[in-house]
Amino acid sequence: MVEVRNLTKRYGANLAVDHVSFSIEEGSIVGFLGPNGAGKSTTMNIITGYLSATEGSVTVSGKNTLDDPNEVKRMIGYLPEQPPLYLDMTVKEYLNFVYELKKAEQPRKEHIEEICRLVKIDNVYNRLVGNLSKGYKQRVGIAQALIGNPPVLILDEPTVGLDPKQIIEIRTLIKNLGRNHTVILSSHILPEVQAVCERIIVINNGKLVADGATDTLAHDLSQDHRLIMCAEGPEREILHAIEAMEHVMDVYSLGEKEQGAYEFSVESAPDIDIRRDLFALMARNGWPILALRNTDLTLEDLFLQLTSTDASSDTGDGKGED
């Protein structure tokens, strides 16, 4: 649906986006992650046609942004980082203006009312946009992106400024929209990306550093495979027994956590799952396992690992977040 090839954006000597390529299938929700100034907003601005790329191409549904700009723009609903609102209009006037601007073809009144219900702004329909709170402005911004029912939605930090209840509502809304829209959203809030997106693209210093399914990305990129086990029994004997196991690289105790129960860290060789053998061993010796979990990276760890590795060597941040 959205195909980005070798996208590069240069601001003078500053490389904001550096040969980024990815493609997004129809009907998926993709999360864009990256620290401030990584080039997320710039990439989104280029896809929507607000900025032009120095190099590379963007095609939406087979149409190139340079050859058919208006066709592409018609297929994209965009919520920029700062919602593009005219503060001197009422919500009603504003949405009607957007409807005309986008040359939408849906029956006007029903379409606008439906969107207002969807993002829950029907109670402020006749108020001036300038007098609305940040959360409501953000929702008017989302409403604006939905007008004309474009198949692709690009949302730059859609839940910024919303209260926790609204955040949950908007996440649910985005998930629902994801059923029949292609959604690209950027966010700093990792649990949000984890909750909403099926796929994550991580950008750092203008470069694409990771791209994969939300559930497996963390596991795939984890470098060590350690298990944390809490078991009841004699500390020293358990340590010796585990050390003697096949494929165990390293084991040490983390100390007594409960009365008579110790926590152990067990590192295995990569790509080998020792959980079953471990269970058998402990069961044979009559040491009950109270808890067993693996220490795959959380999304936070992953994010930090991916985005901090070359941050020290490269101080030139990409522009683009303004």
Partner: protein, 235 residues
């Protein structure tokens, strides 16, 4: 384009700017018609009313155009315009026409004193209509320049002052031409003079050359503004 035009018009008359500009021009038209009447002859309409209004319109136009392109950049609303399926020329035309419409209302309402006079005497309509058309033409040209200047900056004040400076230059450019010794340079300088072009209309004459001149100025500056808007995508 119509969507943008309608939005701009609404924004002029949602804020005091539209009313103030129209009111100032109308009040001045009224004042100068009154002074002409005090002199007791409608012969002075052309020189007195429209001659003065030429200068005052030049002063009011920067106020009309100053926010046309600056506000969008400042409030980031240009993102919705540039990501909507409309071309840059349509965006600029919508804005230009909205500014022109405000000026058009003011100039047209400026005919009211002449209409009132019509009940008691016969003012020389040929001259008045000629002046009116001339006003619309040089006004349109000046507005297109103002819109272009406002696209160069995000500050309304700078846009207004810049446009004001250009209009003052255009007002006095023929006196400048008179003081230039080199005939060729003088000819070029007086060729760009708005008031020379305008003066044919003040005699109640419809000059095709001047009309084409003003329309070309409008086309050129609308084009330049569109290019300027486009160039921001590449910067």
């Amino acid at each position: 384009m119509t969507a943008i035009f309608k939005r701009e018009i609404r924004s002029y008359f949602n804020s005091p700017i539209g009313y103030v500009c129209v009111a100032i021009l109308m009040a001045l038209y009224g004042l100068f018609y009154f002074m002409v009447m005090a002199r007791g002859s409608s012969v002075y309409i052309s020189s007195y009313v429209y001659g003065s209004m030429f200068n005052f319109s030049m002063l009011v136009i920067p106020v009309i155009t100053m926010k046309s392109m600056t506000d969008d950049q400042k409030n980031k609303t240009d993102q919705i315009l540039l990501t909507a399926p409309v071309g840059v020329t349509s965006i600029v035309l919508g804005k230009f026409l909205a500014c022109f419409f405000v000026f058009f209302i003011a100039s047209t309402l400026g005919l009211l004193p002449a209409m009132a006079m019509n009940f008691f005497a016969t003012p020389s309509w040929g001259e008045i209509i000629g002046n009116y058309l001339g006003t619309l033409l040089y006004g349109g040209a000046m507005i297109s320049i103002g819109v272009f200047i406002s696209s160069l900056t995000i500050s309304q004040i700078i846009a207004a002052i810049g446009t004001f400076a250009v209009s003052v230059f255009l007002m006095y450019v023929d006196s400048l031409a008179a003081s230039i010794n080199n005939a060729a340079v003088a000819a070029v300088v007086s060729w760009v003079s708005f008031s020379n072009r305008y003066s044919t209309f003040t005699q109640g004459l419809f000059s095709i050359a001047s009309t084409v001149f003003f329309l070309s100025v409008m086309a050129i500056f609308v084009f330049l503004t569109a290019r300027r808007l486009e160039s921001r995508r590449w910067s």
